[in-house]
């Protein structure tokens, strides 16, 4: 076992006892990238020099016995739609060719301030639009358990990097499941906290009312550690929640006593792979045997979640992506550009990928005069109903357990020609984004070589309950193995 395969908590202990240096940790991670990333393609940009420089600073602090934050010296990979000052941020798209942000996102700045080692920028579906990390200008990322399969998406690069030991921790963004879904496909832990917990400042917007940054780790504790760093109130984001910084990691308790778990009937019906269903019900049973109560809950508007999501997300995206126009930064078409309109048209059709163009067109249509009420406004109403479903359920239970995806990882290229099939991969994850609630995705076993994940949903700003539940499950599950 190399250093890069250790947990962040373990590496932190070894650093503080001066058993190892931060430079050794960085070296171990970079060596793994060197060995694996050609094949798996988790990274778009490596920031090895920066990581080594940051490691040196951490080592200096250790030698001077200075106080260190828990993340000091721990490698973190950043999804490439999160701005990093002076480091290319591509969003996986040609349209941001050559773009170097003049500022860092608040989430990344928090990591840097805590002494984390920024390893590089990870691959994604362009602008976070996709569920497989195939829609990238920089080629697909491969599933760490079988490189012929997709790692899920859109934060597939981050999930893969953590799974392979190319990083210890990673951050991603989750608009409809883009952290939780690749976590499930890659067999790692991924969590999206409540909307407003993490500043969106510097996160390239896909759908502003749904976007939320999330964290990846190989266990629940590590995931809590990275969230403790990136969660913060930020006056630069008007939708940021004015709450004190959380202490998720130090307050983790494997406590299931009196815990009421809700199981939504609607999430275990047709369409779901029975092998996944069995694994999840087994996980629920394990929790029940160890003190939790299980109740049935009803989320009757679940069947409208995907349509609602794709109306709202694409409407917001069509406006958010208007700034990529070739005027001030990024790619600009040069051939046969005769006037302003052709410059816009050619730049955007050449710069954006197919899926991005599809969503911009859909979103523009949804907002058009004469269609706004029928689509956008109606979707907002259904969104309120979905929110209400979840609120009602949470009057009875403390958390809700569901699948993350209806299927196991699929082959690269398998669903490319059928966007609707691809959209259905998000069926169990999008409701949380519509309601702004926190959710964690963690492994509950394997089918053949492929990991199966399950999702624990919590009440708004009650991340502690789902982290503790996940933590308790993780310990029971590893004892069971």
């Amino acid at each position: 076992m190399e250093l890069c395969d250790h947990s962040a908590a373990e590496l932190g202990r070894k650093l503080r006892s001066k058993e190892i240096s931060a430079k050794e940790i960085a070296g171990s991670v970079l060596k793994r990238i060197e060995e694996k990333d050609k094949q798996y393609n988790a990274f778009i940009t490596l920031t090895d020099e920066l990581a080594l420089k940051q490691a040196e600073e951490v080592d200096k602090k250790i030698s001077q016995n200075e106080n260190l934050s828990p993340l000091a010296g721990i490698p973190v990979a950043i999804k490439d739609n999160i701005c990093t000052k002076g480091i290319a941020t591509t969003c996986g798209s040609k349209i941001l060719e050559g773009y170097i942000p003049p500022y860092s996102s608040t989430a990344v700045q928090n990591l840097i301030d805590d002494g984390a080692l920024i390893i590089g920028k990870t691959n994604l579906d362009q602008f976070g639009m996709g569920s497989s990390t195939e829609n990238s200008h920089f080629g697909p990322t491969k599933n760490p358990h079988n490189p012929e399969y997709v790692p899920g998406g859109s934060s597939g690069g981050s999930a893969t990097a953590v799974a392979l030991g190319e990083s210890v921790l990673a951050i991603g963004t989750d608009t409809g499941g883009s952290v939780r879904m690749p976590a499930a496909f890659c067999g790692v832990v991924g969590m999206k906290p409540t909307y407003g917990r993490i500043s969106r400042y510097g996160v390239v917007a896909y759908a502003s009312s749904l976007d939320q940054v999330g964290g990846f780790g190989r266990n629940v504790g590590d995931t809590a550690l990275v969230l403790d760093s990136i969660c913060s109130y930020d006056k630069n984001d008007s939708t940021s929640a004015n709450l004190p910084k959380p202490n998720f990691y130090p307050s983790l308790k494997p406590d299931l006593k009196n815990l009421k778990i809700g199981l939504p009937k609607e999430y275990f019906v047709e369409g779901i792979d029975t092998r996944i269903k069995e694994k999840i019900l087994a996980a629920v049973k394990l929790l029940e045997e160890n003190g939790a109560e299980v109740h049935e809950v009803f989320l009757p508007h679940t069947k409208y979640a995907i349509s609602t999501y794709y109306l709202i997300a694409t409407a917001e995206a069509s406006s958010n992506l208007a700034r990529f126009d070739g005027v001030r930064f990024g790619y600009r078409a040069k051939e046969d550009v005769t006037d302003l309109t052709t410059m816009y048209e050619k730049t955007r059709s050449e710069g954006f990928g197919k899926e991005v163009i599809r969503r911009i067109m859909l979103g523009s249509y949804v907002l058009s005069a004469g269609y706004y009420d029928a689509y956008y406004l109606k979707a907002q109403k259904v969104r309120a109903l979905i929110q209400h479903d979840l609120e009602s359920a949470f009057e009875k239970v403390d958390c809700i357990i569901t699948p993350v995806t209806p299927t196991l990882p699929f082959k690269i290229g398998e669903k490319n020609e059928d966007p609707l099939q691809m959209y259905l991969e998000d069926i169990f994850t999008v409701s949380l984004n519509l309601a702004g609630l926190p959710g964690i995705s963690l492994n509950c076993g394997y089918v053949n070589e492929f990991p199966v994940g399950f999702q624990i949903i919590g009440k708004a700003f009650d991340e502690t309950t789902i982290l503790n539940t996940a933590y308790a499950y993780e310990q029971l599950h590893s004892n069971n193995k």
Partner: protein
């Protein structure tokens, strides 16, 4: 005229807040290009807007001054369109639920009566950047340059309500524009300098035959850079539209551009080509909720309005309506008057002297009342001296000029320059002697009953005494002497 006219306006005024509407960049004018910009106002990926509270306050101030109801909840919306001066590809504006709605302002109507023009809404939005083309327009230019210093400066848009007392003539339109500008300057939310682009307006106009129940389609006219051009454009439109109506033709609903050189309006786009802005609530900004106390505080501290000051000047200080109107055109001038008045013995004369002498002098020398050193109390003293006859009008003007330049009191100036009036009988009589011996024929005229001729003698003395002779006393002495002779 055989036609009734309806005119409405959409006015954009730049707010003079210290910083922009959604970022901390300074609001400037004329600074070197792209020196007051940041990730937000250049539309960098990932940047987010944070609302400037001062701009909200200014918009509410305008709303209250224009008798609007202030919405406790209001929303920001995105207006989506592509243009290189618009860095995000959308403008953050207000669509549903603007800050202020349903107000009015009072203008002078053509019938001489007060006319309350309806205001439909006042909302807050951000300005775009500025493009400089290498040639006439973006399409004919080899290149165009973008300056984003202006991008994100707060604007208020004031929209008239064409169903509630719209303007009925070019003159009323002009009165409306002047009143809006006057109010915005009084409440100190905008400098409204047209040349700096701080005050921009689009106007719409429609006509109907007198007696006909409904109006024709309206034409919107853009691109006018002065009040004069707006008047010219409206006059042209009235001619154009009435000709079409006379010929029984239909007036198209369209947007037209004013051509300053040819003094005509030309079609820009028809209703069918009107862009679909795909408005929707901006998800980056939460619903704006105003506390009652916030609105009350603004109501309490809102500066005095032009009509309030005009009423004060006519009622308390008994100045004529016409003079009060001239005084209140500029708030600083009106304030100068009200600061002088408590020290003045004759407010009507005070008003006349400000209008005829002080303002004229300032205008001729391109000065503003704020920039000169003259103190209100001193100005009142000067008027009092003139009223008492202790200073003649002519000397008064000389003293005033010196007061403007030096800020000294009239007494000090009169003393130092030896401008004190000649009161001494002996000294005055010397001048009278000279005048009598120089003009015996005038003396004869007066003696034969032509009393008016006395002015010739007074004039002669005034000239030889350089205007310093006390006029009242001089008249008495001359009359005395005539009687003796």
């Amino acid at each position: 005229m055989d036609y009734d006219v309806i005119i409405g306006f959409e006015i954009h005024a730049e707010l003079k807040t210290a910083t922009k509407l959604f970022c901390d960049c300074e609001v400037t004018y004329g600074a070197p290009q792209n020196t007051h910009i940041c990730p937000l106002c250049t539309g960098q990926p990932g940047s987010l807007p944070v609302l400037n509270k001062k701009a909200v306050e200014f918009c509410v101030r305008a709303g209250l001054a224009m008798n609007c109801s202030i919405n406790k909840y209001s929303l920001f919306a995105r207006k989506n369109y592509f243009y290189p001066d618009l860095p995000k590809g959308y403008q953050i504006s207000q669509y549903e639920l603007p800050l202020c709605e349903n107000g009015y302002i009072i203008i002078n109507g053509d019938d001489g009566e007060a006319y309350p023009v309806g205001i439909k809404r006042i909302h807050l939005e951000e300005d775009a950047g500025k493009l400089v083309h290498s040639s006439q327009s973006i399409s004919s230019s080899e290149y165009s340059l973008a300056d984003y210093n202006r991008s994100g400066i707060p604007l208020i848009e004031i929209v008239t309500d064409h169903t509630t007392n719209p303007m009925r003539s070019v003159k009323e339109a002009r009165n409306y524009l002047e009143k809006i500008r006057q109010i915005l300057r009084y409440i100190e939310v905008s400098d409204c300098t047209i040349e700096k682009g701080q005050f921009r307006c689009d106007v719409n106009i429609s006509l109907k035959k007198k007696g006909s129940p409904s109006y024709g389609n309206r034409a919107e006219i853009k691109n006018m850079t002065s009040f004069k051009f707006i008047s010219e454009a409206l006059e042209y439109e009235i001619k154009r539209q009435s000709k079409l109506l006379k010929e029984g033709k239909k007036i198209e609903q369209e947007t037209r551009l004013y051509n300053e050189e040819k003094k005509i309006t030309l079609p820009m786009r028809s209703k069918e080509d009107a862009p679909d802005y795909r408005y929707f609530p901006d998800p980056d900004l939460i619903e704006l909720e105003l506390e009652k106390e916030f609105i009350n505080e603004i109501r309490k501290t809102n500066p005095v309005l032009p009509d309030e000051l005009l009423n004060l000047i006519t009622e308390k200080y008994k100045v004529s309506q016409e003079d009060a109107y001239l005084l209140t055109r500029n708030k600083a001038v009106a304030n100068f008057f009200t600061e002088c008045a408590p020290h003045s013995d004759d407010n009507k004369k005070l008003a006349r002297w400000i209008i005829n002498n002080l303002l004229k002098h300032l205008e001729e020398n391109s000065l503003t009342i704020e920039s000169v050193k003259i103190k209100p109390k001193d100005f009142a003293s000067l008027i009092n001296l003139i009223v008492k006859g202790e200073v003649t009008d002519r000397v008064g003007k000389t003293v005033l000029e010196e007061m403007i330049a030096s800020g000294k009191s009239p007494e000090v100036i009169i003393d130092a320059k030896g401008l004190k009036p000649i009161e001494d009988t002996k000294e005055l009589n010397k001048f009278v002697d000279d005048a009598f011996s120089a003009h015996p024929e005038v003396v004869e005229q007066i003696q034969s009953g032509e009393t008016k001729a006395i002015n010739v003698l007074i004039g002669q003395v005034m000239r030889s005494s350089k205007g310093k002779a006390n006029a009242n006393k001089l008249r008495e002495l001359i009359l005395e002497r005539i009687e003796k002779e």
